[in-house]
Symmetry: C2
Subunit: 290 residues, 2 copies
């Protein structure tokens, strides 16, 4: 039995075919150009296989309230041509199968959740942050996605400023110094005039970043009480997370009990950015079983 996965990013689409054990059977990727062209490429790809269900994890913002007339749309995205695109509707015209629809970060969160449970970690809930060009997040509680009014946007909460960073204004066009405005990849350019990959971990900027990311982990901890918090995205490395865990411990000050921090705050378990594809396979299979 085969199912399909689309990880629809603003830069590229990753399409994959999986079996009931979540193993990848086929795989392709292509750049995100116009909706007409790119969605058609996805349709042509999946037409080659006998898939029984499909899951789409899309860049956004997207509409995921089922009672909305825009359910299945990419809505107010700044990406040229993609504003108000009925992505799910186009796929449904070509495939008369169950199709699950969620955000890219929710897809990744679900993949990490499924992989953790497959690895016999006893978890029911997980929070996933991706820190790259922006900061996105997804949350699973009791095996289900959180968010009735829409998907979480926890990359935009406000934080206590680091005393050595007060002069930095932040780069979020909506909120200036929210989490995204303080730790997204482009903040390196804004603070130091160079790319994050060119800034050694010994640079104090990384401590400041860790102070903010730790506060995000504290928000997730105290508000969602998840079993695990995963940080992915281009800004995150294991050595950066070492700093995050230290700051987290200091800031939380043992106020609530959390698991061993090496297990609690982690990089993605699924390798090669495959979390969303794995999550999609699982979500497609669940959609089929509904």
């Amino acid at each position: 039995m085969l199912v399909g996965s689309i990880e629809a990013g603003g830069t590229k689409f990753v399409c994959a075919i999986g079996d009931e054990d979540y193993r990848i059977q086929d795989f392709t990727q292509f750049p995100t150009t116009t909706p007409e062209e790119t969605i058609q490429m996805a349709i042509d790809y999946f037409k080659k296989f006998d898939i029984k269900a499909l899951s789409i994890a899309s860049f956004g913002p997207i509409e995921l309230r089922k009672n909305s007339s825009k359910y299945g749309y990419i809505t107010s995205t700044p990406k040229p041509n993609w504003h108000d695109t009925d992505f799910l509707g186009e796929m449904k015209k070509s495939f008369n199968i169950p199709i699950f629809w969620t955000t890219d970060v929710n897809g990744s969160a679900y993949g990490e959740y499924v992989m953790s449970t497959l690895a016999n970690e006893k978890i029911n809930s997980l929070t996933y942050y991706t820190i790259g060009t922006g900061v996105g997040a997804g949350a699973i509680s009791d095996g289900k996605f959180i968010g009735d009014l829409g998907h979480p946007e926890m990359g935009h909460t406000f934080l206590r400023r680091h005393p050595d960073d007060l002069a930095f204004k932040g780069i979020c066009p909506y909120h200036e110094d929210c989490l995204e405005g303080l730790v997204a990849g482009p903040t390196f350019d804004a603070r130091l005039g160079k790319k994050g990959k060119d800034v050694p971990l010994s640079d104090h900027t990384w401590d400041i970043m860790a102070y903010y990311v730790a506060q995000a982990a504290i928000q997730a901890t105290l508000i969602l009480r998840p079993d695990k918090i995963v940080f992915g995205g281009g800004v995150v490395s294991e050595s950066f997370l070492v700093k995050v865990r230290q700051q987290f411990k200091e800031l939380l000050n043992d106020y609530v009990e959390v698991p061993n921090l090496e297990k609690y705050i982690q990089m993605p378990v699924v390798k090669n950015n495959g979390s969303a594809t794995l999550g999609n396979f699982a979500l497609a299979i669940e959609e089929l079983q509904k």
Copy 2:
């Protein structure tokens, strides 16, 4: 059919008997002294009625992980004599009926949720903050309590400081200037040397408080995406919430869609501090139906 409710506060116990329509049939309250004395008073009270189920909404911290050997305990509370008290176990010795166990704030959150649905508000999720001596919170997503590792403690997240409040250190013994450390009732004493009730709403301190409480509402909004946020507790008044809504609007800057703010950010719907009792009735009835 009758069910029982205990709202166990650090100062007093409120016990009530309700019917299947959540109407109060009987009611009593008594001061919280020692566990032996106070729990026995609750037992004696409920023995007078033929209750089929009971729900306890307790001060804490409490253990609510069912797989813990301390499930049903009040755990590390600073309240004299109550440390490590097997509250649920004592009740179970006297009543061989289904007993639901949760936090005081979860009880209130659930009461507000039930009352809102009874009033035909179409909500699936709700976040409840109480701002009094401390700041507590409970959250319901898709009709269920959030929190696998324990109950939410979202009163202790960090915030962007108000520019006119930088000299104030905050009063939280764990985190200094977390939400509770900045807006709990005793911060009035710490900032101004007088009680909040003696500080007129025209005092700038209330604007500063609103700035922080609005950030809490933004955290709830962006992380939980609830249908409604309720603020209760002694510090909160409708005129204070007017300020909170203004700050919320400015800080969120229309980043995500939320309902009309008068409906979205509200005082408790249940009057006379009755949210927890109503929530308990509903939880007891659900426990019976399991």
